[in-house]
């Protein structure tokens, strides 16, 4: 009987592990090593990132006819370049010493295009990127999803990508916004944690704690539980203040 229980536990643990492993594989497959997660033919916008010293500028549309055109210039020198998935003859690219001009169209068959290039001796790279002859900088992702520029024509400094990597997860969307709302609305947050905690303690009281035969111990455990809840409330205040304050 004991063996059976143990076997079931092992099977359950194996199941949980396989789900975690599968999720990790999925994450790796979908995010790849690109630095930005996007799905060609489903995602819509520009995706810019750096990988092993090369700058990648790619664009994708959700199977609609969209014209992407742009100008990338720098005070350094553009060395090597490589076109990524350029299928159409009508797509144009003009690469000079310190400037790249391109016009490319995507449609229901052409999901994504891009350029990979390296730049030497530069202090900035300037981008002027349009979609269907207009600007939509919420759809220009530089170094990460929703790491959007603030102007239509924007520059990134040399160490932009390395600085971006230093950002913690809570400084990025959607966590930054979530924590900001929790902190702005702190009375609600503390009340929410309190109600949540009280319910958890009550569940513990009638299950795990109720199993203790000694009445004093039961009271002690409940007291400890409420102290832990109070500590969580205090910690969450300082944590939220640190993150979003």
């Amino acid at each position: 009987m004991k063996k059976n229980k143990k076997t079931i536990e092992i099977i359950n643990a194996a199941r949980i592990l396989s789900v975690i492993l599968f999720s990790l594989i999925l994450l790796t497959v979908f995010t790849g090593c690109s630095g930005i997660f996007y799905i060609p033919g489903a995602s819509y916008g520009y995706y810019i990132w750096e990988e092993k010293g090369d700058i990648f500028v790619t664009w994708s549309a959700d199977r609609k006819e969209i014209k992407f055109e742009g100008d990338i210039s720098t005070d350094g020198e553009i060395k090597g370049y490589e076109l990524i998935e350029w299928e159409k003859e009508s797509d144009i690219i003009d690469i000079e010493k310190n400037e790249i001009d391109f016009t490319a169209e995507l449609d229901d068959r052409d999901y994504s295009d891009g350029i990979k290039f390296s730049v030497t001796d530069y202090s900035y790279i300037e981008f002027d990127l349009k979609m269907n002859n207009g600007y939509d900088f919420s759809r220009i992702n530089v170094g990460g999803f929703l790491e959007n520029p603030e102007n239509d024509i924007f520059r990134i400094e040399k160490n932009y990508f390395s600085e971006l990597e230093k950002k913690h997860f809570y400084e990025k969307r959607p966590f930054a916004e979530f924590f900001h709302k929790l902190f702005s609305n702190r009375y609600f947050t503390f009340l929410y944690i309190l109600i949540f905690g009280v319910i958890v303690i009550e569940i513990l009281r009638i299950t795990a704690i109720a199993g203790t035969s000694d009445r004093k111990k039961r009271v002690l455990w409940i007291l400890i539980s409420f102290l832990v809840l109070a500590a969580i409330e205090v910690c969450s205040y300082f944590l939220l203040k640190f993150i979003a304050g």
Partner: protein
């Protein structure tokens, strides 16, 4: 002593005498209740679907303009939301912070303004507490509808309701108000069980005023409750009295017929859209749901012993036939839930099929696009979920999204039909048991 007996009485009123008198069952019920509350609490502040905002926008407009007859089609429902909004506005100033968003006429601008508000979690929670109250009332009321004297089975009903994925999803993720109408229907069922035929029909009539769906079970209600020939007429009149009242009211107030307005809405169209054309190019068609519905009603009418359990079974069959055959919105599935919860205790396999229906529903959300998929998470960070690649373009990238959803819709219909068959078989067993 008096206080103790008062609380004893109150306890047995809330959780039924069977459970209250059995300490172990009472403790288990309390544990389920707390765990269920905890699950609900996880979703309450953070997720909602756009319709929740629309519902409260109508209520806010009613308060703002002072026109208490603003929502013509859902008069009673709107009045409940108006009252609730009025209460929470008075008690919690945070709600006033989103007033502009609630009164904004442009749906996109109001949605963005609402989600970007710092108070969004508080306001969503306050909005949803109304549904939580009806949910709690429903979970205790449903205990009284079956298995009298069997505390364990009553506990199972409670467990199936409180952990029901459909209930949790529709009320706390999807955030729709159908629970109000469902609660009225449960009250009507309770009164029908107690043989209070006029009261039962009157409450069902109120249910019909709240939401159109209880009208589907009105014929089986009448057939169950009639005791004499004249009852057919009286009960039918009482049953449609709610609708008649709203119709007369709207004719006098607006000079418009509510019934014909509703018949011309897409919701009624859902009922008659699945049809079988008799001759190509001709106008003659058979509305499939209505044909199936007629068969169900006649099948019930011809039963000699119409017990309350069989009434529950037929209500489940009607709603399953509806969602199985017709186009529906996710919240309509809540109408099947109370009946399936009770029947699942008698026939466990239905409990698992209910989970399958729920899993299929999650795939079918593709039909309604971003609004019911990624935008549900918008309160967390609306910009993130607006720009995040949605599930539909993702599927569309590899396969036609509509075809993809329709494959699962087909399976969904199949599961509904199979559940109807299982319930029908269960009916036969119940009838045989009663004969013995």
């Amino acid at each position: 002593m008096r206080i103790k007996s008062f609380f004893n009485r109150l306890g047995s009123i809330i959780v039924t005498r069977e459970i209250y008198n059995d300490k172990k069952s009472l403790k288990t019920l309390y544990r389920y209740f707390l765990a269920g509350l905890l699950i609900r609490l996880i979703f309450i502040p953070f997720l909602y679907q756009r319709d929740l905002l629309s519902t409260y926008q109508r209520a806010a407009t009613t308060i703002h303009t002072g026109n208490y007859l603003h929502d013509f089609q859902q008069l009673l429902n709107n009045m409940i939301h108006v009252s609730w909004l009025f209460i929470i506005k008075t008690i919690f100033p945070a709600v006033n912070g989103v007033s502009n968003a609630l009164l904004e006429q442009d749906t996109w601008i109001s949605w963005l303004a609402f989600n970007s508000s710092n108070n969004v979690f508080t306001v969503i929670s306050l909005f949803k507490i109304l549904y939580l109250l009806f949910d709690i009332a429903a979970m205790f009321l449903i205990l009284r509808l079956a298995f009298d004297g069997e505390s364990e089975k009553k506990l199972q009903i409670f467990k199936f309701w409180i952990f029901n994925p459909m209930v949790i999803f529709i009320l706390y993720v999807f955030s729709r108000h159908d629970i109000i109408g469902v609660f009225a229907t449960l009250v009507a069922l309770f009164l029908a069980k107690k043989d209070r035929k006029y009261w039962a029909l009157l409450v069902l009539a109120i249910g019909i005023m709240l939401r159109f769906f209880p009208i589907m079970i009105l014929p089986v209600f009448i057939l169950y409750l009639v005791r004499s020939r004249k009852d057919y007429l009286i009960l039918s009149l009482v049953g449609v009295s709610g609708l008649a009242f709203v119709e007369i009211f709207s004719l006098f107030r607006y000079g418009r017929s509510l019934i014909f307005t509703m018949l011309n809405t897409e919701h009624f169209e859902f009922l008659i859209a699945p049809k079988l054309d008799l001759v190509a190019g001709s106008h003659s068609s058979i509305y499939i749901f209505l044909a199936v519905y007629a068969v169900i009603i006649f099948s019930f009418a011809h039963l000699k012993n119409k017990s309350f359990d069989i009434l529950i079974n037929y209500c489940a069959i009607i709603y399953l036939a509806y969602v199985g055959i017709c186009y529906f919105h996710p919240q309509y599935l809540l109408w099947t839930t109370p009946f399936l919860v009770i029947i699942s205790v008698r026939k466990k396999s239905l409990f698992y099929y209910n989970w399958i229906l729920f899993a299929l529903l999650l795939v079918l959300l593709i039909y309604w696009g971003d609004l019911v998929t990624k935008f549900v998470f918008a309160p967390v960070d609306h910009k993130y979920f607006v720009y995040l690649t949605g599930i539909i373009p993702f599927i569309q990238r590899f396969y036609d999204a509509a075809k993809f959803a329709n494959i699962f819709r087909g399976i969904f219909a199949g599961v509904c039909m199979w559940m109807i068959y299982l319930i029908y078989r269960e009916n036969k067993l119940t009838v045989q048991d009663e004969k013995k």
